[in-house]
Subunit: 351 residues, 4 copies
């Protein structure tokens, strides 16, 4: 934190401010220039608010933050080395990370019944997915929409894992459900609407399963990394960051604006692996393929893609789900780009 | 919901669509024009997604929503009559509603200790506030920031109520804390970050205390009213809607953009009373007064204003808090506008 | 501008940077702290880009802007004294400024014919307006919409001025039309879509009539003040800043989000007078009154309000226009708030 | 346009509305359902405002737009066939279109002097670019920033074309300069800030050179296509649409949010070719490569990339410019993705 004093600030006032800052537990390091006095603040400044420091004196012209507000999440914390997140699944370990193939997570928005989830699991496994997504607890805008089958759906996910060999990822929304979900899931998901549900982040940070942290729909990059910091600070450093589209001024043709530039931005700020969800990121099935290809070209470590046996009859998020056929076609197309950039798990197929 | 068919749609396909829609539990009401066929859908359409219906056939040109997605929250539900929310406090009943004086809620961001909360309660009561706000559980962007004193702070709020006669409003963030908070608080607050924490909304809807529902920072009006609908659907119709600023592209001089036009917009859509929080809505103490005056002129039913004995040393949100003196001055200024529009609890004072 | 060096920066690199900055015409003022070296840059830094300076060396941790990018527009430029803009009209001088009554500008979106513009001028004059607005050149989203009558409409505006005694304000969109418009208009308007049409700003800055500068729909406060700076830098310091709503994520019930907090924000940054346009700011006739009242309570110096003899048949912007009756009612209501805050031109009327 | 009447609307009122709509030049096609009456409006509805139609009667529940507001720009206008834009350059014709290789446009933000522009032209030509970009007239936020060398820079661009064989693209900001720019340029650019400068669009539509239309920073897809419609309506159908990033709530790490989903969205709406500008789209040199790769994978027809001999000393937009070396490296990387998707002009090179 740097405090810039106004030109002509009285020496006495500067001393008063120094004394006050020391009371706050900070060590002000005064540096006197020809025109201006500037103070560098040494100490625990991460949780300080520059606007609050400015209140100390009308002679303060500006207070500027220099430090990043997050620590364990930062790339510096690992000395510039990016981390991998390895998850054990019935078919073996799967690793999310820059030097590994793109991990494909796929499945329906919500678990509707045993038949559909098992059928979907087998289909996406056959096409090359490593994880099955499927909601037991669903955050729905309307109280009158299908809210997910809850606990009983967790059992169906376990059955789908047994039947397919896929790892399982599912969302938890309530601290009261963390233990149950954590027991079944191979990866625990925090949804966009709960990205700043801090009690939930703390509790998820205290369990052992890797965490899939979706970006809030109006979360800044810093907000998002601070949410991850809650989980890391609670002891769990296996966090994957997933972009799923942000809210902007034009929502006529897409539900959200998918922000692919987060890929290089996050690479420069954090060591955590990155996933992209082009299904929620656009909200339209026919836009999923071009955005998935773009995400691979831009360097994503993982893709989450919605698939449903019959999208028109899906109980939630049908318009953005692919059929099995469309998913097979997508995987073929992705293999072309994935192979070109050296991030695919098997050699290029001819399509 | 209205389904618009493309020009030249085959009669057979229209019949197929009609049959399919009936399977969805809807009654399509076909209306044949000179050029186009349009189907009005009768039935439970509130939870349907127009984009999903469109998937049924490539001959569907467009699906348009006509109905509002919320019911109990709508103004129509009360036949155009706005509702009041009356809260009992140690000093008697206080009513939030269009034909009542503007209700002032005031206090610090977080409860720091007994002395400060009691002192603040007395000061804001003397200046004309009816409710004391104060956070026991605090949603903070950083895990390293002060997180609130939790349960012990609830006792301090109870002490402040006894000492001042004010009603108490405080936030709950975790379903596990709803009972405890509901026992102490006269009004239970849902914060902006939890506006779409649906398990929380359901649990709060199932308890008896009135609810203060803050707008999410990127919530549309419809999102917000649907969040209220969760609470009303769960049985609690005493909901007050509070605007606290939305996230926009310019955050250099204010933290949020306060959207005062929600006042007339909400009046035309919902029967619920409306509050404005100019402290969070701007994030800057010196902008609170002009925005509070504007909110009264625009017709708000309530104002929530942050006050702290010593804003520069506040453990949270200092920059937007007023001192006791500033709050007294503000109340004097507000009485001028409040009296002019006939919404103040005592005659104009000379300032 | 402040350059923050990374911890451990080699002395030789620091000297190289100092030399390079001197080449840029800047005087670096090195200030050596215990841990870090910081350089304050003295010189013409207003047009420099902090991100560009950062490119000079990988040892630069951060470059922070301290100065405001605008000069003549700033409050400091007038030593903290706000300016007035006085405009001569057939009925005498009218002054926009903090110590003067709120100036009412009213009229139709576009000049449709002589009868309607003269009739409107008389009606709004009778109700208390000082200026007639009316578009000769209209910026329309569609090339197939009515584009304004152009030059011939300027004559009709002149006729309306003669008939009513009102001053005239009208928009210019093309540098080729500046002279013609400037000859007729008492105030020249720059519309939101042209706020960063720099050739236009320069040419308008070089003519004598006062300028009404609308905020672009996604312009930051700094962008807006820089646009004003173009006009002041070209020699014309009679600029009025008009907020007309910004573009945000929710446009279902309003066209734009009216950002009333600009009133206190601008007061603290610039000496220029401020106007609010609640008609464009909401896009809905029934929301104009509450937002106009709010704007006066928040301290606006002027209001621009659309009025049309028959809004349903207006050639442009009908939905946001008031009838003559509605405008009369609005003026009565505004007088109540205007008198309460001491900014109305005649004593409170009983309504 | 569809007018939905409220349940229980009196027959007399419906007839009055029908008569009124006929006066507007529309043919209402009444379709009577079991519960509701709906009217389809036949006629010139593109320029009508649904909100304005709603003003006709309080019995109108809703007015819904069904038609697209643009015509010549629409994909339907060409019966679903996408168009190519072919531009003649000293090195032969270059075609922008889905079945052609990605066209690379490259060069500095502004033309600084003959040496730099000729040197840059040769360098980018050698690396594989087909067009040289370079600003003669520069839209700068600050009046004190370098504004471009204007007319004299046009001559330097002509010299660079002669020296390199590249086609030339440059921006025009003022109707007064259209003829001069159009004479020299092979493609005329409309910048983001002028996307709704309608007099400029009309004049550019009336000249013969192809047009490169950048998206405004808060333009919706419909706004953008309507801007293109101005040019097509004026007679010039050779328009290329260029996404350059939109303004969102997080601008800390990028200047703009690059919206790559416009590629599939535009493909479904318009026949015009599409370009992406990752330099302005991110504002950071190191993010240009991943976003350029992503754009190719998503299907762009062209890329515009800023290159400067010495970005740190560029007179404008240095931070987002690549050096010659970086541009060479980028072209090598792009060839990998470009070849994978079959959109590169020469076979894959080994890197």
């Amino acid at each position: 934190m740097i405090v810039v004093m106004k030109v002509g600030s009285p020496e006495q006032e500067i001393q008063r401010i120094e004394a006050e800052l020391q009371e706050w537990g900070l060590t002000p390091e005064k540096i006197i220039g020809k025109h201006k006095v500037v103070m560098g603040l040494v100490g625990e400044t991460a949780s300080l608010d520059p606007m609050q420091l400015k209140e100390i004196s009308p002679w303060i012209e500006n207070v500027l933050r220099v430090e990043k507000p997050y620590k364990k999440t930062s790339l510096e914390y690992r000395n510039g080395e990016h981390s991998n997140v390895t998850v054990s699944t019935p078919s073996g370990d799967v690793t999310f990370g820059q030097k590994h193939p793109v991990v494909i997570i796929s499945g329906p928005c919500s678990v509707e019944n045993e038949e559909m989830i098992v059928e979907t699991a087998k289909a996406v496994k056959a096409a090359g997915a490593s994880f099955l997504r499927g909601g037991a607890y669903k955050p729905r805008t309307s109280p009158y929409s299908f809210q997910g089958h809850g606990e009983s759906a967790l059992e169906l996910l376990a059955a789908a894992r047994d039947a397919s060999g896929l790892g399982i990822i599912t969302e938890v929304m309530d601290t009261a459900d963390v233990d149950k979900v954590s027991e079944v899931a191979d990866i625990v998901q925090v949804g966009a609407r709960n990205m700043q549900n801090f009690p939930l982040l703390k509790k998820i940070g205290a369990q052992d399963k890797p965490v899939f942290l979706k970006r809030g729909m109006s979360a800044t990059i810093d907000d998002w990394l601070m949410a991850a910091e809650y989980i890391l600070a609670a002891g769990n450093s296996n966090v994957i960051l997933c972009e799923r589209g942000i809210r902007t001024f034009d929502r006529k043709y897409v539900r959200n604006t998918i922000d692919l530039a987060v890929i290089p931005v996050l690479r420069s700020l954090t060591h955590l692996p990155i996933a992209i969800d082009p299904s929620h990121g656009t909200g339209v099935a026919s836009y999923v393929l071009p955005m998935a290809k773009a995400a691979i070209a831009a360097g994503t470590d993982s893709l989450m893609i919605e698939v449903h046996p019959n999208p028109a009859k899906a109980l939630s998020d049908g318009p953005q789900s692919l059929t099995f056929d469309a998913f097979n076609h997508l995987m073929g197309e992705l293999s072309v780009v994935g192979n070109a950039v050296g991030r695919w798990w098997k050699p290029r197929v001819t399509i």
